[in-house]
Amino acid sequence: MRYLPNSPAERAAMLRATGYQSIEELFAQIPDELKLRDRLNIPGPLSEPEILEYFRQAASQSTREYTSLLGAGAYSHYRPVVVDALISRGEFFTAYTPYQAEIAQGTLQAMFEFQTLITQLTGMDVANASLYDGSTAATEAVLMALRVTRRRQVVLPRTLHPEYRQVLETYVRHQDVDLKEVGYSPAGQIDFGKLRPSVTAETAAIVIQSPNFFGVLEKSAEVAEIAHRNGALLIFIVTEPLSLGIVKPPVEADIVAGEAQSFGVPVAFGGPYLGFLSARETFLRQMPGRLVGQTQDTEGRRGFVLTLATREQHIRREKATSNICTNQSLCALAATIYLSLLGKRGLQALAEQNLAKAHYAAQELGRISGVAVPLSGPFFNEFVVKTPVPAEDLLAELRKEKIIGGLNLEKYYPELKNHLLICVTETVSRAAIDRMVAVYRRMAPLPKVSGRAAELDSASIGRNR
C-alpha cells in the first residue's frame, strides 16, 4: 500500500526488536472474542485513477452546469487561484495546532494577521483565530453574553438564519436560558415596536443579523442603545461579511460574530466553513477559541504564540469558556490570503459589484407586473421576491434554463408562501440575470387592464416576448 513506508523486511526487523513473536501478539491485550473476524465490507483498494473516476462520477451529478442564485449563509464568490496554491503548501496544511511556537511561526503569524483583518472589518478590538462556522460562532457569542452578564434571557430576531437559531437552541437546551423572538417590520428589519418591550433587566443580549436572513441591512446604533440602556449586550451576526466592504461596521456592538466562508472558502455543500468572533477588549477573557498573541523571544525578535490558553478546555476542562478544541485554521489562512489579495480597494470594488448585480436583478424583476420585491429595507447582495405563480413552479421553469432560482422561504417562514430568497454575487452574469427575468416575465399572468391602455400594453408585451 503506497502510503505505508515500511517493507516486509523492515517490519520483521522492528518486530524482532520489540521481542514480540508475531503481529498478533501486539494485539494480545484485545480479548479474542472482541476481535474482528470477517473482512470489512468496504470498497477498495482503489488505485489513484480509480479514485479519481469514482469522485468524477459523483461530481457529474452536481449543479456544476447551473447558475446558482442561492445564498442564505453560504455564498458563491470567485476564489483566486493563489488561495489554493498557497494553502496547498505542505508546511501549512499538514501542520498541527501551533503549540510548539518555534516551529509554527508561519501558522501563528497568519492567524495574527487573520485576527487583525477581522477587527478591521468589524470595528471591534479583538478577534479570535476562528471557530467552526457561523452558526456555532453565533451560539458562542450568546454563551459569552450569558457568562458576562450572568442573566438568562436572550432576544433574537425572527430574521436570524433559522439554522443558526436551531443550533443555539440545541446548545442552551439544558442551560436554563430563555430565548425570545422578535418579529420583523414591513421593511424586513427588526420591529422596534416589538423589540423595546422585550428587552428588560433580565436580558443578557439582543442578537441582530445584518444583512439579515432576508438580505436586509439592520442599523446597529438604535438597537445598541436599547440594549445598553438595559444593561444588555448587543451581538451582531454577519453571514455575508463581504458586505463589510462597503457597509459601515457595527461599532456600537459588544460582540460581532458570524461566517467568513465568503472569503476564499469553497461552498463545498455546507462545510468546512469559517466562524469568526470579535468583541470589545473588556470581554477578552470570556472569549472562546484560540487566540494568537504577539511577543518576543530571548533575542528580542518578534514572534507569535497561542495565548490566554487558560480559558480553554485543555486547562479548565469542565470550567472552560467553551468545549471547542480545533479552530478552522486552514480556512482562516485561506481567508487571510483572499483578503490580502483583494486588499482595501479590491474588497470595496468586489462588494460594489455584488451590490450592482443584485440591485439590477431586483430592479428588473420589480418591473414585472405580478412580481414584487416586498421588503423595502436596504439590501446588499440578497433580496426577497414574491413570485407571480407558485414558487416551486417558477423554480422548475428556471431549472430548465439551468438556473437554480433561489431559496423557497416557505420552508422556514410559513407566513411567506411563494417568496424566494435570491442571491446575486459577482459570479452571476448579466446574461443569466436576463434569462431569469425572462422566465419570470413568461410565467407572470398578464395584467388585467381595459380600453386603450390595454391595446398599448398588449402591444408592448408582444414585443418583449
Binding site: A309, T310, I315, R316
Partner: protein
C-alpha cells in the same frame, strides 16, 4: 525561604495574617513556585462574602489555573488592585506586597484550625516526598 512566623497557613497553600478582626490573605511561596510565571489573578469585589474552604478566586500561569480557597469566613473589605496590572508581584513577594484580599472575620475562632509556620514547613516537606 523560612516561612514568616506571624502568618498562619492552609493545606491549599494560602496564608493569613489577622490584625484586630481583619484577615489579610495571600498565597504562599510554595504555591507561586508551583504555578510558575503568574499572568493573571481573578479576585472578588469589596463587600463580597467569602466562606472558609470555598474558592473565591483564581490564579493563572501560562499553562495552569488554580483556585484560591478562603481560610476564613467573612466579608471582603479590600482587594489588592496592584495585582491587576502587575500579576508578577505574586512571584516576587507572595507573603508581603502581593496580598490578595482583606476579610473581616465573622468567626475569629476559625483560625485555630490553621497551621503555624513550622507545621506548614513540615507539611510541604511531606508533600514534596509524595
Amino acid at each position: 525561604m523560612p516561612y514568616p512566623q506571624e502568618l498562619l497557613y492552609t493545606k491549599e497553600h494560602e496564608w493569613i495574617r489577622v490584625d484586630e478582626g481583619i484577615g489579610t490573605v495571600g498565597i504562599t511561596d510554595y504555591a507561586q513556585k508551583e504555578l510558575g510565571d503568574i499572568v493573571y489573578v481573578e479576585l472578588p469585589k469589596t463587600s463580597d462574602h467569602v466562606t472558609a474552604n470555598e474558592p473565591f478566586g483564581t490564579v493563572e500561569s501560562v499553562k495552569a489555573v488554580s483556585e484560591i480557597y478562603s481560610p476564613v469566613t467573612g466579608d471582603v473589605t479590600a482587594v489588592n488592585s496592584k495585582l491587576q496590572n502587575n500579576p508578577e508581584l505574586l512571584n516576587a513577594d507572595p507573603h508581603g506586597e502581593a496580598w490578595l484580599v482583606r476579610v473581616r472575620l465573622s468567626d475569629p475562632r476559625e483560625t485555630e484550625k490553621l497551621m503555624t509556620a513550622e507545621d506548614y514547613e513540615a507539611f510541604i516537606r511531606e508533600v514534596k516526598q509524595r
